[in-house]
Subunit: 253 residues, 2 copies
DNA sequence: CTTTAATGCGTAGACCATACGCAGAACTAG
DNA sequence: CTAGTTCTGCGTATGGTCTACGCATTAAAG
């Protein structure tokens, strides 16, 4: 009985199989001119250039000089293709934490790395993820995140929960940043003028009697200038890490 | 010069105008048989029944006994309709915090209330939100959230950031819970057997030498049984609130 | 009554994903 | 060398999507 690696078991989705490179080519038939990784790369190229909305089967096929239906020999469905795009879109994890870093600097770097990827490829946020991570690169990220918590006294389950918490925060922040970026582009205003314009619109809409606390925020000039998005990100991340620190202190005591 | 309420300024989107009920009907022409709120209610009904994917213009029109193109007299585009659906989908905020509650219990109730809404209407998570909140109900939620922080010494900007942090966490958690629910339904397994199946799949895929930390998590049996989703939610929320508590303590001192 | 404007909606166009079946290529068995 | 097998690429066709445009009808104003 092998302890891990077991060949049997319920069939895992074909898309996942190809992501792990477990597909042996049948010896018969013509040599494939298209490969699944070539298709996924082309799709990523299209998404990088023109956004996720531009990723249609025909567009990807055109990118490859092939016909639309040719893709279906390799990917099964468009959703499969999107799932595979997530894997190569994230790319490999930036590597394990330095051995002499404490958990907090390690996790901070881990969070910033994911944030950088999501800024570079905003379309990753628009792909509806269909389950817990099973693709190789995603698990690589998870492995490196767990590594940051190695020296802590946390039980394994809590390490996992914490990773979920941090990655969720990063995704959410990137989503918001991306939305205001897209929104400002759609409205035709400078990204820096977005928040002030928002504040002005709110001031015009809300009744101070119905929304007293909100009015106080507006009067404080919170929205008048856009503090760098990095500050906003750092603020939230530090709150979360403070909370984790409290837990670790509690588990240590 | 009015201090707030100013009629002039850059035209705000028609969809927003109708959400605030600022559209006066022109005195000419036939009486409208369709109203924008009637259309939005019908769309919400369809989404509640068959999911967001079922919300097409023709389907909503059928719900109303009208023709597809009739809707476009009132909503402008499907994206407009979706934006309006978010507003009525969330519904009114559950109300301000009790006056003698501290910020933590207030914010906890606020977070649970949003979570309840997102469990009831998972399709809210699939609507790509296109900017900061400007619809009436959304601002009601924000107002009540700010109210929870009234007694704290935090500056207004940080109150806002904290609300963003908490609501982001709630949305992210609901998204994950919803994804595993949909995933288990698609794979045909009981929702309770989802995590164990996931663990078994991981065990089959990963190489312990490449993924040592992940293997340790698996060996600890973390994924063997599904602890209630409420526990997972509470864990993350408590970490975040701990972090906020640390900030408040720091600002108080 | 005429003018004006807004409503409902039918038609049509431009996309989209994808089920199905056929032609040909490359291998194996005889 | 030939026949059989199997996989590749892809053309066609179907049913779905959103929505631009124009027309007939309705209701009020002058």
């Amino acid at each position: 009985m092998a302890e891990t690696k077991d060949d049997s078991g319920p069939a895992l989705p074909p898309a996942i199989e190809s992501a792990w490179g477990l597909r042996e080519r049948a010896p018969k038939g013509p040599r494939p001119g298209l490969t699944v990784s070539g298709i996924v790369d082309a799709a990523v190229r299209v998404a990088d250039a023109d956004g996720l909305a531009a990723v249609s089967m025909s567009r990807v096929a055109k990118e490859l000089g092939a016909a639309t239906m040719a893709l279906y020999r390799h990917v099964g469905s468009k959703d499969d293709l999107l799932t595979l795009m997530v894997d190569v879109g994230y790319g490999p994890s930036p590597g394990p934490a330095a051995p002499d870093d404490d958990w907090r600097t390690g996790l901070t770097r881990w969070a910033w790395a994911e944030r950088d990827v999501l800024r570079q490829r905003p379309w990753l946020l628009h792909i509806p993820i269909s389950g817990p991570p099973i693709t190789p690169q995603q698990l690589g990220w998870m492995e490196d995140g767990l590594g940051c918590l190695d020296g802590t006294p946390l039980p394994e389950g809590e390490k996992m929960s914490i990773l979920l918490l941090v990655t969720g925060y990063v995704r959410n922040d990137a989503m918001l940043a991306n939305q205001i970026a897209e929104g400002s582009r759609a409205a035709g205003v400078e990204p820096g003028d977005m928040m002030p314009a928002y504040g002005a619109m709110l001031a015009r809409l809300i009744d101070p009697a119905r929304f007293p606390a909100l009015t106080r925020v507006l009067d404080a000039g919170v929205l008048d200038q856009d503090d760098g998005p990095d500050d906003e990100f750092t603020f939230g991340l530090d709150r979360i890490l403070d909370g984790i620190e409290a837990l670790i202190a509690h588990r240590t005591a």
